[in-house]
């Protein structure tokens, strides 16, 4: 047999090999340790964030300000630090943005999966993919210059900086998230049923509506949940075009403030005041929502479809 190295006896060769092996083994555990360290660091940052938010929000509980923070009026000069209007603002904005984006998203997915001409699917999905790369601040900027005067012109009672404007802009931002998630799910389903249903004589449109739609319900839910959480987490669009009045809105044309823009607006006030504590409470609420969303998503789908479609603020 050919032996390792050149002129050594088999026994020495064996020793050399074992030394080489011990070296590899040590490196192996070292590397594993390093990788584990990196993972712990990455994942630990979640705990660190939670820890910091909680620590800074702690005085709310220890000083008994909880009831004041969870109240309906934000008037710092009168000592009223309620963030509930902002919570309502966040919720209403996210819900309406979803209300616009979700049907649009479903329509687009339907279009790409049988309702529209096949030749337009490629360009359409290309455009949707491209939309993920448009910076949020650009949506905000164009909206301020373009959409705000438009809304003001159409509705004289509104300043243009309103729930409506923000919801429309935001819906554009979360649209790709919804479309790509549903699209991914439909693709999976499509691969399973296409041949079978074509063999039954269904048209692509019929396949989509009566065969694939019921099978894709997980994706539909996941897209709704994730789109909602993206809308809730947005800061910049709300901050730029929603008007930021700390009130519970009565109409779509009212100015509203979200929890996220509340943080941005108030962050640099006096660090002992309750205004300051209120932003950490807002942060905690947002953090809590993000955990809830993730737990929901976990139930709904495997992780595989997530990374490519995410979008942050």
């Amino acid at each position: 047999m050919l032996i390792q190295g050149q002129a050594s006896s088999p026994r020495t060769a064996e020793t050399v090999l074992q030394a080489h092996w011990r070296h590899l083994d040590r490196r192996q555990s070292g590397i594993k340790g390093l990788l584990l360290g990196a993972t712990i660091l990455s994942c630990g940052s979640v705990l660190a964030i939670l820890g910091f938010l909680s620590y800074f929000a702690l005085p709310i509980f220890s000083e008994g300000h909880l009831a004041e923070i969870l109240s309906w009026e934000w008037r710092p000069f009168q000592g009223k630090f309620g963030i509930l209007p902002m919570a309502v603002g966040s919720l209403s904005l996210a819900v309406t943005a979803m209300g616009v984006a979700y049907p649009l998203g479903l329509g687009i997915c339907g279009f790409a999966h049988g309702l529209g001409p096949r030749c337009l699917k490629g360009p359409l999905m290309g455009l949707i993919n491209f939309m993920t790369s448009i910076p949020t601040v650009i949506y905000g900027f164009v909206s301020v210059i373009f959409l705000v005067p438009l809304v003001r012109g159409a509705f004289p009672e509104s300043t243009g900086y309103s729930w409506l404007t923000a919801a429309l802009t935001l819906s554009l931002m979360i649209l790709p998230t919804i479309v790509l998630l549903v699209h991914a799910q439909l693709q999976q389903v499509d691969a399973r049923v296409r041949l079978a249903s074509a063999a039954l004589g269904f048209s692509p449109a019929q396949t989509l509506l009566w065969v694939m739609r019921p099978l894709a319900f997980r994706g539909l839910w996941a897209a709704a949940v994730l789109g909602f959480s993206r809308a809730l987490g947005d800061t910049i669009i709300a901050l730029m075009v929603a008007g930021n009045a700390p009130q519970v809105p009565n109409s779509l044309l009212d100015s509203i403030r979200t929890l996220t823009s509340h943080i941005a607006l108030v962050v640099a006030t006096d660090s002992t005041s309750q205004a300051y504590q209120s932003i950490f409470a807002s942060g905690l609420i947002l953090f809590g929502v993000s955990i809830a969303v993730n737990l929901t998503l976990r139930r709904l789908q495997s992780r595989a479809a997530l990374p490519a479609t995410g979008r942050h603020d």
Partner: protein, 259 residues
């Protein structure tokens, strides 16, 4: 370097009451077997009878799959020394080097033909750079591939034909000086002519190694086997000698058993 003289039958693999399960479902039950150096054993059986799992138990590759569990005793004679590989284990990569495996489809590494050989030699054996080329050549010669590829060692490995790829995989094993060869339907993805070449190669190798091959083809087993093991539902139900395999009446029984 030449072929060793076959001593009598030197046992090198002893399997006693082996159980293997995945995620709580047992695939191999109470399996017993013995294999010898210089002896080519063929494992036959329906799909799902646990043939591949058995091979993977021998180089502990089952552990790459989720929630695998192995019980029983599996002893290999490596470097002239008996070891129970699930208890008195040598390091896993070392075991896998000594117990080489060829898969149904050629599992190429990324890169060129030469890379496919050189990378394992360099990483696993730690062979110095200056000795690699000669070892690559030797291994390719062993696998009857050298003449076909010597002019394009740096071409991407996937440009080879299926049969060549499979022989490349064998060459890659041989370069690592294994003692036991596990072949998982090595000719399943090949056409007849390419399959014959691989078989020829196996026959030329069998004197020096312990070879255990899973096969899907009875005729192949008859061409190759010194001994055949028939698997059913995760255990060995029958053991046939070379003579048994050639006999027409066992053949009929076997056809019914397997297919």
């Amino acid at each position: 370097m030449g072929p060793k003289k076959p001593v009598d039958l030197e046992p090198t693999v002893l399997v006693k009451s082996l159980h293997v399960g995945f995620a709580g479902r047992e695939v191999l039950h109470n399996l017993n077997a013995k294999f010898n150096r210089g002896w080519l054993a063929v494992v036959l059986g329906r799909s799902g009878s646990g043939k591949t799992t058995f091979l993977r138990a021998l180089n502990r590759l089952n552990e790459c799959f989720p929630r695998s569990a192995t019980r029983g005793s599996l002893k290999l004679k490596l470097q002239g020394e008996w070891r129970d590989i699930y208890r008195n284990a040598m390091p896993l990569p070392e075991l896998r080097r000594r117990v080489g495996m060829v898969f149904q489809t050629p599992h190429l590494l990324p890169g060129s033909i030469a890379d496919n050989l050189a990378l394992p030699v360099k990483l696993v054996l730690g062979v110095p750079r200056r000795n690699i080329a000669s070892r690559v050549e030797w291994a390719l010669e062993e696998a009857h591939l050298w003449d076909e590829v010597k002019d394009r060692l740096n071409a991407p490995a996937h440009t080879l034909s299926g049969g060549q790829q499979q022989r490349l995989c064998l060459a890659r094993l041989l370069a690592l000086e294994p003692e036991i060869l596990l072949l998982d339907e090595p000719t399943a993805s090949l056409d007849f002519r390419a399959a014959l070449k691989v078989e020829e190669l196996l026959l030329s190798l069998k004197e020096r190694y312990t070879i255990i091959a899973v096969s899907h083809s009875l005729s192949q087993a008859r061409r190759l086997a010194d001994e055949a093991l028939i698997f059913r539902d995760g255990s060995v139900v029958q053991r046939l000698s070379r003579e048994d395999l050639q006999a027409p009446d066992t053949l009929q029984a076997l056809l019914e058993e397997i297919f």
